[in-house]
Symmetry: C2
DNA sequence: AATGAAATCGCCTGAGT
DNA sequence: ACTCAGGCGATTTCATT
């Protein structure tokens, strides 16, 4: 699906997504136009989903992060619980998870007061949500979106 | 700390971090050199921490995501538990959290077999870890790093 | 699917306001 | 702190292989 040259390009972009095309070409040892072509195709095929800037959340006034575990009973019709949570801008991630709690949401807000408001006003108004349990993040030691190269080959189909 | 023009620039970069400088200048209504200067300063001040490419994890061979809750007893000396977890490439995030479990780690691996190996070999060899509890992600409904503009003003100091 | 030439466009410095 | 001008380099298209 993606070959070795694609991986090289992706790895360079993972380090710095604003790396100029010509610089990537130098590192990979190909012509810039060939690199452009490959990046285009990676975008078309949905391998590259976009380019994000990493902003210090504190500087942005979003000093508090929390994980919210959501228990819900799904009903047919209308939007699903997860889709409604996904519409909330303070919610960065929504995952459907195995286990007793059905969903896990990652949220960023200014402070504890705003977290309370979020849970009461936004989560609280989603009909299917039975209960929530929040885990406050005190300190973030690592936070990256970089993907580790998995060992290829191996005994997996 | 960051003014309205900075916010405009950051918002454009949040949409697409590879947006050319000149394009940002057009949208903001300023000269490209002024935009460049502002971006430089945002980088210097650590507001902008970097630029990331968003890669489809499945295409990269990392189809399984899990959250690992880690209970540990901290000991003085050597690296802390969190720092040791942060060294593992499959670990994308490590948070120190409030509550019974001390840490929360987000991990991406190829499949369940690799998750097992990761927990046994890598987490298992960190001396201070008492126990782990993993929550498998079945489906990701939303996953963004975009920061929502918090309401400014308000009754907070 | 990659190259290389050529045109377009953006980057970035320096001077000036 | 921003604008403007200009040289340099990058991006991108296209013909070719």
């Amino acid at each position: 699906m993606i070959d070795d040259i694609d991986r090289q390009i992706l790895d360079i972009l993972q380090e710095n997504a604003r790396t100029p095309n010509a610089e990537i070409a130098r590192q990979v040892g190909m012509a810039p136009s060939a690199i452009l072509e490959r990046i285009r195709k990676l975008e078309e095929r949905g391998v590259i989903q976009g380019y994000a800037v990493r902003i210090n959340p504190d500087a942005y006034g979003l000093g508090l992060m929390a994980y919210v575990f959501v228990r819900a009973d799904e009903r047919a019709g209308a939007l699903t619980t997860a889709e409604q949570m996904a519409l909330i801008p303070e919610v960065q991630e929504v995952h459907h998870v195995a286990g007793e709690d059905c969903f896990l949401a990652k949220v960023r807000v200014r402070g504890t007061r705003e977290l309370g408001e979020l849970l009461r006003d936004r989560f609280g108004s989603i009909e299917t949500i039975r209960s929530t349990r929040s885990t406050i993040v005190l300190d973030t030691v690592k936070e990256t979106t970089m993907l580790y190269e998995p060992e290829t080959g191996g005994s997996r189909g």
